[in-house]
Amino acid sequence: MNTDLSEDHRLIQATVRDFAAKEIVPVAARLDQEARYPSEIIARAATLGLMGLMVPEEYGGAGMDSIANVLVQEELARASAGVQVIVSVNNSLVCDPIVRYGTAEQKRRYLPPLADGRSLGCYCLTEPSAGSDAMALETRAQRRGDDWVLDGRKFFVTNGVEADICIVYARSEDAPGARGLSAFLVEKSFPGISVGKVEHKLGIRCSSTSEILLDDCRVPAENLLGGRGEGGKIALATLDGGRIGIAAQAVGLARAALEDATAYVKERHIFGRPLSNFQATQWALADAATRIDAARLLTYRAAWLRDRGARCTREAATAKLIASETAMWATHRAVQLFGGYGYIQDYPLERYFRDAKITEIYEGTSEVLRLVLSRDLLGSRGNAHQ
């Protein structure tokens, strides 16, 4: 494994860093305060090819690999974690499973608009009583003639309000747990699908989070994604990629905190000398840099494995676990270095801190990730509760 980035990867990184600094950073605070969906930024991101990063070129995507994806996600998150998650969900949770499990017709129909910004996607797995225990979900899919009919309530759906194309996981088979699930490509324009309650959140406020209600929603049979009963497998394999994207988001947030704090402590004077002269400050920065480096390299490793077609469930969980806890730790320390200035909205530190918390929760809480990792160590029956 080589940790040097290729010329193309460096160019992608530099391009998106520049884009994020010029077009996202200046509006990031306002987007957060107004909790407004950044449609103009998403449109610009789409013209750069950021909405279909890993979609093959024949379907209108950029045809890039997971390494390119994590580089892009880190740069976007460094500017705005809210903007980033909109992009990351579209790429990792929507385009990616269509690329991997879609039929030629599904790819031809859905990937080009998702990649060029005409459409936005969302991933509908979680339900009010099936979050960490996602495979217990209760949304029903029943076959009626040439259609499937979906009934249920999805919850905490990122991009739920703006999405045009929803991947909905529902129980189609008479089997418990993952084996009873199938995945469906549901267009918002289909009858019987609607947006329910829109949540007000602590962080990532410019991305929407909502309920998706399915009431006698008719989905043509050809919109089954993958085979019947393969939904659980698809949901979990897709989450491996999603977690890599969230790990990159967390790295970007932690880096934002470190970079801003590093600049601040050199300028801020206290007791007659710069804050950077105090060893307590120096160690906080050194610790943050060390953790960020570790989190970033583990994120690259997971992406690298995914690019090689290898199973990366453990590595993706490891990367997301350390990266999210690093984001929380680094933003927490950075707010403290800024003191009162870290707590007010004139500086972005409080936003980073609020945004960081979600990385420990969505796409697998830290507890679920520890469960994934411990199962790997102990075997699937090694857990006390089973």
């Binding site: 460096r10 160019l11 530099a14 391009t15 520049d18 884009f19 990063l53 070129e57």
Partner: protein, 261 residues
């Protein structure tokens, strides 16, 4: 409308520059980028192609690493790229660089040659002007607006002068050097980066250009050394409470210390 854009790879303007013990710049860890002015030159060429069709060719003089800057121009949308690379060019001064570029451009028949106004590493603003002379092309430097009439075969350009605007009409083919206010360069798109990856960057050495090292001529200037500017010392503050004493102090300073009186 076939346009050739000359670009250069330079240290990022925010990069800390360290001088090597034996002279020259220490490139370890130095972030190298396409000269910003050249991004504007590339953008200008791409817009001409969008308006009139044709091709955009980018060319650079530099070591192997310069490929990255050429790749960026390809990712922005340039059609082809050529690197002029030769050990004899490693220490080339501005005139020698212009001679190498001229040899390449003579092998083509561009309607326009576009360069950045200057490169942000040494700020000389020489290569563009020298190149126009060598190619015997009319030139307009530091242009802030470019309008081209392909049918009439001329361009109308604006040059921003102190307190005035100079408007020139230039017959084509011509050479232009551009200001950053000319346009807003596009970002390389990710699909553009993927397409650029598949394009070959041609590499020509002096022999391929039909030049020999001594044909480049003796350097107009020889680099004898590099030094960082001395750090700024603290200023002197004169108390103005007693105007006569203050004047006396300033005159004394100008005479004895600054030695300008």
């Amino acid at each position: 409308m076939n346009v050739i854009v000359c670009i250069k790879q330079v240290p990022d303007t925010e990069a800390p520059i360290r001088i090597r013990a034996g002279g020259g710049i220490d490139e370890t860890g130095l972030n190298l980028v396409m000269n910003y002015y050249d991004e504007h030159a590339t953008e200008a060429a791409l817009r001409l192609r969008e308006q009139f069709g044709g091709t955009v060719t980018v060319v650079a003089v530099g070591p192997e690493r310069t490929r990255e800057a050429l790749r960026q121009a390809l990712a922005m949308g340039a059609d082809e790229a050529t690197l002029l690379r030769d050990p004899a060019l490693d220490a080339a001064d501005h005139l020698q660089v212009a001679r190498a570029l001229a040899a390449f451009i003579r092998s083509r028949t561009p309607d326009a040659v576009i360069c950045g106004k200057l490169s942000t590493d040494d700020n000389a603003a020489v290569v563009g002007a020298a190149l126009a002379e060598l190619l015997d092309l009319p030139q307009a430097t530091a242009i802030a607006k470019l309008e081209l009439d392909a049918g009439a075969g001329h361009a109308t350009v604006h040059r921003e002068l102190e307190g005035a605007l100079e408007i020139l009409e230039v017959p084509l083919p011509a050479l232009f050097t551009v200001e950053r206010s000319l346009n807003e360069p596009r970002y390389p798109s990710l699909p553009g980066i993927m397409k650029a990856k598949r394009k070959e960057i041609a590499v020509l050495d002096l022999a391929a250009l039909g030049l020999s090292a001594n044909e480049l001529g003796p350097a107009g200037a020889t680099l004898t050394g590099l030094a960082t500017p001395p750090g700024r010392t603290a200023g002197i503050q004169v108390n103005g409470a007693d105007p006569d004493a203050a004047v006396e102090a300033i005159v004394t300073f100008l005479g004895d210390r600054a030695k300008v009186l």
